[in-house]
């Protein structure tokens, strides 16, 4: 598994400053980068995947600096990356696309590549679709194919940007199984804006407006809301950090509880909402 170290990382994307002063240290396990849309999650993952050069700060992956071409190429040999918009569509066949990417990943001769491609397809349950065109796959299948291509060449660092997007519950369960299996051998970094996905990770990094606001375990993030989450029958009139109507008709509130409030057990979502403000 690969060691990921970032110091004061800053980066721009699409003409705006998307990351600012990010410090990070990850080695092994599954880390979920959690944040609202536009928080800078994808920019951070692009930097970690070496496809976007940071404006400032430094990044070390297994001690190698992607700023330097030989290091960058070596890192990419150990990397599996699924961008948010992976572009796996069109009339090309599933097998041909996977084999093309295997070639680009310098994966051995034809026979080795074939085994590698089918192994990856098997892991995501798409072996039977090898001869189908990409356009014949459902959105969830394409997402699984995106994960499969990232698993080619058994990467030591697996970076998946919103891998659960478009997956049904069963497919999400399958994805979690794959990630759990990979965490034994790889450092896995996923981005998500769904707290229930992040709850299954070993570590959580909360990002908002380009800054890291929290690094720790899902339990520690939930614990941030301890004593700051309560339920009340009426909609809050005081200023609270967040509140919403629950299925049982009560309002769940986050912030500084009023005297006599009925405190409730904090969840990961509570801790996340309080963290991003």
């Amino acid at each position: 598994m690969m060691q990921v170290l970032a110091f004061g990382l800053g980066a721009s994307f699409a003409g705006r400053r998307a990351l600012d002063g990010v410090d990070l240290s990850i080695e092994g396990g599954v880390t979920a980068v959690l944040g609202p849309n536009g928080a800078g999650k994808s920019t951070l993952l692009r930097c970690l995947a070496t496809v976007l050069a940071p404006d400032d700060g430094s990044l070390l992956l297994d001690g190698m600096n992607p700023k330097f071409e030989p290091d960058r190429i070596e890192i990419r040999r150990r990397l599996g990356y699924l961008p948010q918009h992976h572009g796996l569509r069109g009339a090309d066949r599933v097998f041909d696309t996977m084999d093309l990417l295997a070639v680009m990943k310098e994966a051995g001769d034809e026979r080795e590549r074939r085994t590698m491609v089918f192994d990856a397809l098997e892991r995501v349950g798409l072996t039977e679709r090898a001869s189908d065109s990409l356009d014949d796959l459902s959105g969830g299948m394409r997402q699984r194919l995106g994960v499969a291509q990232a698993l080619l060449t058994a990467p030591r660092l697996l970076i998946l940007d919103e891998p659960a997007a478009g997956l049904d519950p069963d497919e999400r369960r399958r994805l979690r199984e794959i990630l759990t299996e990979r965490r034994q051998r790889s450092t896995v970094v996923i981005s998500t804006h769904l707290t229930d996905e992040a709850a299954h990770a070993d570590g959580v990094v909360v990002v908002n407006e380009g800054r890291v606001l929290f690094v720790g375990s899902p339990a520690a993030l939930a614990q941030r809301a301890a004593g700051r989450a309560w339920a009340q029958p009426d909609a809050p009139i005081d200023t609270v950090r967040a509140s919403w109507l629950q299925a049982d008709g009560t309002h769940r509130c986050l912030g500084t509880p009023p005297p006599g409030a009925t405190l409730v057990a904090p969840t990961l979502e509570d801790g996340y909402l309080l963290t991003i403000g």
């Binding site: 084999d99 990417l101 070639v103 074939r114 089918f118």
Partner: protein, 228 residues
């Protein structure tokens, strides 16, 4: 003693061989021509390449049709447009707007410039061969058949160099506009529709190729990253 693991691995390999779809016709032709399976896959299984081949050939055919006959105006128009064909081919062969898996590809160890070179060469080779043939068969153009090749190389090199600063589309648009302006200025100044292919321009093209090659070499890492 039988090694069960090895037997299983071999059996899986056989199953995979049977399950793998037959390579496309283009890929089979490339393999028969001596290309490795990896190179053949890299060339034939890239959707962007097939589109750029089709587009470049369509332009070539249009230019060829325009040049049919002996009308000097048509011949001039064909020669002036010809250097832009490989530029167009390069633009359609590389980049996020034409390659759906561009960003996935960026995170692989293959160098972006190598990928661009492989794709560009295949597109340009096909387009230039067809275009050169159509120029050769044009009765009035034999003496001028290849005067456009060096300017074409120069424009393509400049476009690739510009792609290290901006998107492929903008680079190609800029180069095309620049070429059009140059053609108009030279034609106006000399009253000769083919003066843009004179000795001075050929030398200028050579210099441009050398400068662009320097820029590409210095800035080739831009092809390994997304545009910020």
């Amino acid at each position: 003693m039988i090694d069960q693991t090895r037997i299983d691995a071999n059996w899986r390999a056989i199953t995979f061989e049977l399950d793998a779809p037959v390579p496309s016709r283009t890929e089979r032709i490339l393999r028969r021509a001596g290309f490795s399976s990896a190179t053949a896959r890299l060339v034939a299984a890239t959707p962007a390449l097939r589109r750029s081949w089709a587009a470049a050939l369509a332009v070539v055919v249009l230019i060829g049709l325009g040049a049919a006959g002996e009308d000097p105006a048509n011949i001039s128009a064909m020669l002036v447009l010809a250097p832009l064909v490989p530029v167009l081919g390069v633009a359609l062969a590389y980049g996020p707007s034409v390659d759906p898996v561009h960003e996935i590809g960026l995170a692989t160890p293959i160098r972006g410039l190598r990928l661009l070179a492989i794709r560009s060469v295949t597109v340009v080779a096909v387009a230039v061969s067809v275009l050169a043939s159509s120029v050769l068969v044009s009765p009035a153009a034999n003496s001028l058949a290849f005067v456009w090749l060096l300017p074409a190389l120069a424009l393509t090199s400049i476009a690739v160099g510009a792609m290290t600063f901006t998107t492929p589309r903008r680079a190609v648009a800029g180069v095309s506009v620049g070429w059009a302006v140059l053609v108009v200025v030279v034609q106006t100044a000399t009253a000769d529709s083919l003066a843009v292919f004179g000795a001075g321009m050929q030398l200028g093209s050579l210099v441009a190729v050398v400068i662009a090659a320097g820029v590409i070499t210095k800035r080739h890492e831009a092809f390994d990253r997304v545009s910020p």
